[in-house]
């Protein structure tokens, strides 16, 4: 089987800039959301992935339209990269009729089948059996498409995680399991929820490879994903990629996160995926001040538009509370 971490790749300047754009957009989206929550304009529980963007960008960048993603609560960025407009996602967070769920849920519990996006329930781990089912159909069709399934290290302790990975292993399914190990499940640090250092080690119990990588390095994530994609598309089955990272905000925007130290947060902030990548782009002369400014304006305009759209969108009509239950 091809090695995962040492897969060769070459990205054009345009591609690198596109990656950069996504990193910035996802960061900006989450940060705006955070502000909107504080302003009381978004009322729901919001779970941002600020600090974890490299994982989404690195894993989604190599995907095709036909590939499927199965995001969890911090993975709003993957909806954007798979093709949902920022304004629709914003409307979803505002629980407007123009959102994905017609206001029925404000979180990421809705999907878009045509774009290959699965919308999970709140139940952690419950997306993973579904991911296996999606991948099973690719195998049935002998198609070389792939499913990417996300989960936190905390969710890796659920029964569904186990049942799904075992099935994926035994059926050699084209699915890549992406663990976003951000050190905490709500308030509970990893050492209180499992007796191992690397979630990646669990893959061995299912008969496939697991690797642990720096989840704050977008190129490392991209590279590992490429390797796993090649494997999956070639019929060589699943891979588990554990991305070590950290969430900057609280568990939700309402969580003050007293359970961690300022030092720890500062250390992880120093590993911010965006400056690291910026430095790389500058060194390779891909990014100059102008492109940086352009990117930032584009991002700001997209987010502003999204918020405006969401605010101006209508609420669902009351009857939507009881429609769409049955086909």
């Amino acid at each position: 089987m091809p090695p995962i971490k040492r897969t060769k790749f070459k990205l054009s300047p345009e591609q690198l800039l596109e990656m950069f754009y996504w990193l910035k957009l996802i960061r900006a989206f989450d940060e705006r959301l955070s502000v909107l929550v504080k302003q009381g304009r978004v009322r729901s529980g919001v779970y941002t992935g600020v600090g974890q963007e490299a994982i989404i960008v690195g894993t989604c960048f190599g995907l095709r339209k036909e590939d499927y993603i199965c995001p969890l609560h911090r993975d709003l960025g993957s909806f954007l990269m798979k093709g949902v407009e920022a304004r629709v996602m914003m409307a979803q967070m505002f629980a407007k009729r123009t959102g994905l769920s017609k206001g029925r849920d404000s979180a990421l519990h809705s999907g878009v089948s045509e774009l290959g996006i699965f919308g999970n329930t709140s139940m952690l781990g419950a997306n993973l059996p579904v991911a296996a089912g999606l991948a099973l159909t690719f195998k049935m069709e002998k198609a070389d498409h792939v499913v990417i399934a996300y989960f936190g290290e905390g969710a890796s302790n659920t029964g569904d995680f186990h049942e799904a990975l075992n099935f994926a292993g035994v059926q050699q399914l084209p699915v890549i399991f992406i663990c976003e190990n951000n050190q905490y499940a709500y308030s509970v640090p990893i050492e209180k929820s499992m007796a191992i250092d690397d979630v990646a080690d669990r893959a061995r119990g299912y008969g496939f490879d697991g690797v642990a990588i720096n989840g704050n390095d977008v190129l490392a994530v991209y590279q590992a994903t490429l390797g796993a994609l090649k494997r999956a598309r070639g019929g060589d089955g699943p891979t588990l990629i554990e991305c070590k990272t950290y969430r900057w905000h609280g568990h939700s925007e309402h969580d003050k996160a007293f359970y961690r130290t300022d030092e720890e947060l500062a250390m992880w902030k120093s590993r911010d995926p965006i400056p690291t990548f910026t430095t790389y782009l500058r060194a390779r002369h891909v990014l100059d001040d102008k492109t940086l400014n352009d990117t930032e304006s584009r991002v700001a305009a997209t987010i502003d538009d999204a918020v405006e759209f969401a605010i101006n969108s209508a609420d669902p009509s009351p009857q939507d509370a009881i429609s769409d239950l049955y086909a």
Partner: protein, 327 residues
Amino acid sequence: MSKELSYLEAIREALAEEMRRDPKVFVLGEDVGPYGGAFGATQGLHEEFGDMRVLDTPISESAIVGISIGAALRGYRPVAEMQFADFISCGFDQIVNQAATLRYRYGGRASVPIVVRAPSGGNVGGGLYHSQNPEAWFIHRPGLKVVAPSTAYDAKGLLKAAIRDDNPVVYFEHKYLYRRAKGPVPAGDEVVPLGVAATRREGDDVTLVTYGAMVTPSLEAADRLSKEGVEVEVIDLRTLLPFDKEAIFRSLEKTSRVLIVHEDVKTLGIGAELSAVIMEERFDRLDAPVMRVTSPDTHPPFSHVLEAFNLPNTDKITDALRRLAAY
């Protein structure tokens, strides 16, 4: 319509015919492959359709349902088997939270055409974990459909309808009937529509509403009452969610008296809802209280002495009919 099959053979035939008709139909579950299922419902299917359409799974009920949901999202029509309905508790979350809600939270843009087959019911010496009647849990969940055939004809016709239905259907097949119920079955493309009850016997004096293995003792009790000059109309619900309220009301117009018979325990068995709905909508038509004959609020015991104590039977139903007629 001339062929006579057992209830179990009818199920098998429905599966085979639907799999032949639609390449998107496949079955999965424990021992459903070469072995043909714990009860033989999938016998011959593996030989005809091969590994990829007749999937032996690991012992992972939650994954079995979740995988089905994933496949359904890509246009497949999976039929998942729980080895016994009792084990559906292990796949509960995926059914009630993932499948039942999906269309609603997707804003109506997707559906989940899965069937979960669940061999249920007692009177087969199964004891606590091989005799349960878990239908009420699912009738309580909007977004699902729930089916419970009593004849070979319906076993085939309802299963075909369930497979073609675009919603998640929990299909309870009664183990006691597998080899005991025999009869003609629908031919060709004929299905038995979901949501429509069948009148098994006409009568003007009392309406008896039941389903599954309770239909036969109900008809026997009705015959006894007939000798006493009381004509009982026996309605077989066939579909439990949505249940055919109009059929009950039509009969009630004639009889003004309703007895509900089910094998499930009394408290919050489906009889409770039927009674409450009749109360709400037809109070003035009632000449007597709606009564229930059910298992008492306990677990299904193994010893035949104990099981016989619990199960509704012809005698118990006859007594209740007499009380109701004399009210």
